[in-house]
């Protein structure tokens, strides 16, 4: 590594880029402070922390943009054990988060169209399609993506990542580390934990080879420790959703989950969530709800419909309906207790085996039931996401059982998390209205 590379990186990011982003944030905070609250809105104004979320994401993408040649870049799945990579100084890029940004900015259709033009079927996951389209065409709403030096795919969310990262490895001609996590029905077998642990250990020399440095165990433990603190904070924030009125909705959670996915293990992520928790507590103290005149509280299951955020929050908010909890955002909180920095490999093996998507349909149903009780929910919206089979298979029975055995109204809403072609406003409005009516007064 040359000194000039380091200099260029720090000047472009920390000195110039971060400063510009910070000024932008301060300006937007100032504007928010003086902006009058819209009386006609059905929802509370966005959390003040939102400008910091934007700042963190912007900085992260900026770091990526100028990472090369100073820092090595790893592209990773959302469930990948990233602490090893963090400790080795990699810049981490999450194609799924990038997919979400494309979804929110409504560029996913155009970018995934590039993949479809190259022969990729519209029936494959729209995150993957968007990412492939971006890799093939260079199109992205964030300026420029840093090409990977290494890929890490963990099957604890789906098998789709296996084929998707297979494409990336072929396209970018870089090594792919696969962490295969056997599915859990009741509890993880000893040989499954051992298997994952061995793979994590085997990943170290490969990642070290690419990084050009040796893994420092103290750093690894530190990242695990900080990951755990950040996850604990995230869990506390989500738990505040149990208050009436709920201070943060699932929509807020979707927006503010990026740091816990992309930047866990860093001190600034801990500071960020500590500040967010304070703000949420302030809302509770002042009786501010995410939805004005909260009447009904629902659980959201599956990924968000990124391209229909405002439409959904307004349509529900108008009728005093708040999404007080979500199985999706919960996924990044529930693993925290399993992380033990003193046993980095063994505890990571255990934790990364246990995301909800790597567990049986019965476990998810029980999680939903527990959440319904904890958050005093009146019903469930199950987003049947045609892109995400692992999350969606089982929802039809889960819905039937929620209704028949537990008397919980549940709606199955067909859509796609990124692809707008499978969503129509009119049909969704009709469905939601009928469902809200069913929830009663």
């Amino acid at each position: 590594m040359r000194l000039t590379d380091a200099l260029r990186y720090y000047v472009n990011t920390r000195v110039m880029g971060w400063t510009a982003i910070r000024v932008n944030r301060l300006y937007s905070e100032m504007k928010t402070r003086f902006r009058k609250e819209r009386k006609d809105s059905y929802t509370a104004p966005p959390l003040r922390i939102s400008s910091r979320t934007k700042e963190m994401i912007a900085r992260h993408y900026l770091d990526g943009r100028f990472a090369k040649p100073y820092r090595k870049v790893a592209w990773v799945t959302s469930g990948a054990p990233v602490e090893i990579l963090n400790a080795l100084g990699f810049h981490l890029f999450y194609p799924e988060n990038h997919g979400a940004i494309c979804g929110v900015s409504r560029t996913a259709e155009e970018i995934s169209g590039e993949a479809e033009d190259a022969g990729y079927s519209p029936d494959i996951c729209s995150y993957a399609r968007t990412d492939i389209g971006s890799a093939l065409s260079g199109k992205t709403p964030v300026g420029k993506l840093p090409p990977p030096d290494i890929l890490v795919a963990c099957t604890n969310i789906c098998q789709t990542v296996l084929y998707w990262y297979g494409f990336l490895a072929h396209h970018f001609k870089v090594p792919l580390i696969l962490i295969d996590t056997p599915f859990i029905y009741t509890e993880a077998s000893d040989h499954s934990i051992e298997y994952v642990k061995k793979q994590l250990e085997a990943a170290v020399p490969i990642a070290e080879g690419v990084a050009g440095k040796t893994l420092d165990e103290r750093k690894l433990k530190d990242f695990m420790y900080k990951s755990r603190i950040a996850m604990d904070l995230w869990m506390e924030i989500l738990g505040r959703g149990a208050h009436r009125p709920t201070p943060i909705s699932a929509f807020d959670q979707f927006i503010h989950m990026a740091p816990i996915v992309e930047m866990r293990g860093h001190s600034h992520t801990i500071d960020f969530y500590a500040a967010m928790l304070k703000e949420v507590d302030r809302r509770i103290a002042h009786g501010i709800g995410a939805v004005k005149n909260e009447r009904k509280r629902l659980l959201w299951d599956n990924l968000p419909i990124w391209h229909k955020f405002r439409f959904l929050s307004e349509t529900l908010g108008k009728h005093g309906v708040v999404l007080a909890a979500s199985t999706y955002t919960n996924a990044w909180a529930e693993l925290a207790p399993m992380i033990d920095p003193e046993k980095p490999f063994e505890s990571a093996a255990r934790a990364y085996l246990h995301p909800m998507l790597n567990r049986g349909a019965g476990h998810k149903l029980n999680t939903m039931r527990r959440m319904i009780e904890k958050y005093s929910l009146d019903g469930v919206i199950l987003h049947s996401d045609r892109s995400c089979k692992p999350y969606s298979i089982g929802q039809m029975d889960q819905r039937t059982l929620l209704m028949s055995e537990y008397g919980i109204p549940a709606l199955l809403l067909e859509a796609d998390h990124c692809d707008p072609r499978y969503f129509t406003d009119a049909r969704t409005t009709t469905l939601l209205m009928a469902f809200i009516e069913m929830l009663g007064q």
């Binding site: 029936d123 056997p182 499954s192 298997y195 039809m396």
Partner: protein, 366 residues
């Protein structure tokens, strides 16, 4: 159908005979699983590749329309009256859809039979082989609890050796395919009888055909390679034949991707694991695109194929991701390719027949 093929007993007969002899029968979903282990417990594995032409009415109440037809049909079949003959269901975690099916069967739908998941690792590293061996060991314990039998290592090894013989005969059938007095559909009918015949019966039958091998190739038509999951409906072969093509090799999950070599290990569980991991590249087992492309290019060169037909199940992600880069690699060696989608029924295949004819015709004329 070739006269001699009429002597292949059908699934029903085989199941009945096995049950009459006091054995149990397992319905096994695709793709890879330890046949020998089931046989050691006197359980006959009978594979369910769909089955085709099933009314998916039942599954529609449990699975969304964007789940592949194979999984839809399998669920309808397992929960339907015809599956009563099965004593257990085994579901390898081949893909997200089969994993999801196994999960809802186990936790939510609860069919009559016990359901046994089999997790297959996605690599070929030593850790993968050891994990798979441990999985098979765990399966041994479950089958022991189900049947109250405890086959010894020698007994399991005897079953393994029998399956290895059958695998060798299967490979020989593939090597000699063009010299056998069978049309394409009949040839695949013979190959696929391995999906339910006991290994020893399969060997006997296959050897009787190998003995009839001729000296001259019977292949007439444009040589092609067929890639995909399962060639259902089997009328596909007639369409190919009518369009002037002949399948000279395949990369089908139910056939060519299961040409297992012997396991080469004295431990029975490791031997079964290593055998499965020795199979040709497969999208569902984490083979890289390059491995798959190299394998296909090798097949093209060895078989003299002039085109590749990707016959894909609707919504099958493992396959869909592979098509564009594999087609690119094949194009580099001037091998034209075509992708057609099907849903395990004649009705879904018919609209693609025109493009298949056009594809082969263009190559034949060119």
């Amino acid at each position: 159908m070739h006269e001699a093929l009429t002597s292949i007993p059908c699934r029903r007969e085989i199941i009945r005979a096995h049950k009459e002899s006091g054995g149990r029968v397992a319905a096994v979903l695709p793709i890879h699983y330890p046949r020998a282990l089931f046989r050691a417990f006197q359980i006959l594995p009978v594979e369910l590749w769909g089955p085709p032409e099933i009314d998916p009415q039942y599954s529609k109440a449990h699975l969304q329309p964007y789940v592949c037809p194979l999984v839809h049909n399998a669920l309808s079949y397992i929960t339907g009256p015809e599956s009563e003959v099965f004593d257990l269901v085994a579901v390898p975690h081949t893909c997200d859809s089969l994993q999801g099916l196994c999960s809802i069967l186990t936790d939510l739908i609860l069919p009559r039979q016990p359901v046994f998941p089999i997790y297959l690792p996605r690599g070929r590293r030593e850790s993968d082989a050891q994990f798979l061996a441990n999985e098979f060991h765990a399966l041994y314990r479950k089958l022991e609890a189900l049947t109250s039998l405890s086959p010894s290592e020698d007994e399991v090894m005897a079953c393994i050796l029998r399956e290895e013989d059958a695998d060798e005969v299967l490979a020989e059938l593939n090597r000699k395919r063009k010299f056998l007095p069978l049309c394409q559909r009949d040839f695949y009918h013979l190959l696929r009888s391995r999906e339910y015949l006991p290994a020893e019966r399969f060997c006997e039958l296959a050897k009787s055909f190998l003995a009839k091998a001729e000296n001259e190739s019977r292949d007439k038509g444009l040589p092609i390679i067929l890639s995909g999951i399962v060639p259902e409906p089997m009328s596909l072969f007639e369409f190919i034949e009518r369009a002037g093509g002949v399948v000279v090799a395949d990369d089908l999950a139910c056939c060519g991707r299961r040409l297992y070599g012997p396991g080469e290990d004295n431990d029975v569980f490791r031997r079964m694991a290593k055998s499965i991991l020795s199979a040709p590249p497969d999208s569902t087992r984490g083979s890289s695109i390059q491995e798959r492309a190299d394998h296909m290019v090798r097949m093209v060169k060895m078989s003299g194929a002039k085109a590749v037909l990707f016959y894909c199940m609707k919504f099958c992600e493992p396959e869909l991701f592979g098509h564009p880069p594999l087609r690119d690699e094949l194009n580099k060696i001037n091998i034209p390719t075509l992708v057609i989608e099907s849903e395990l029924s004649e009705a879904s295949l018919n609209p693609s027949v025109g493009s298949l004819e056009l594809f082969l015709e263009t190559i034949l004329c060119g």
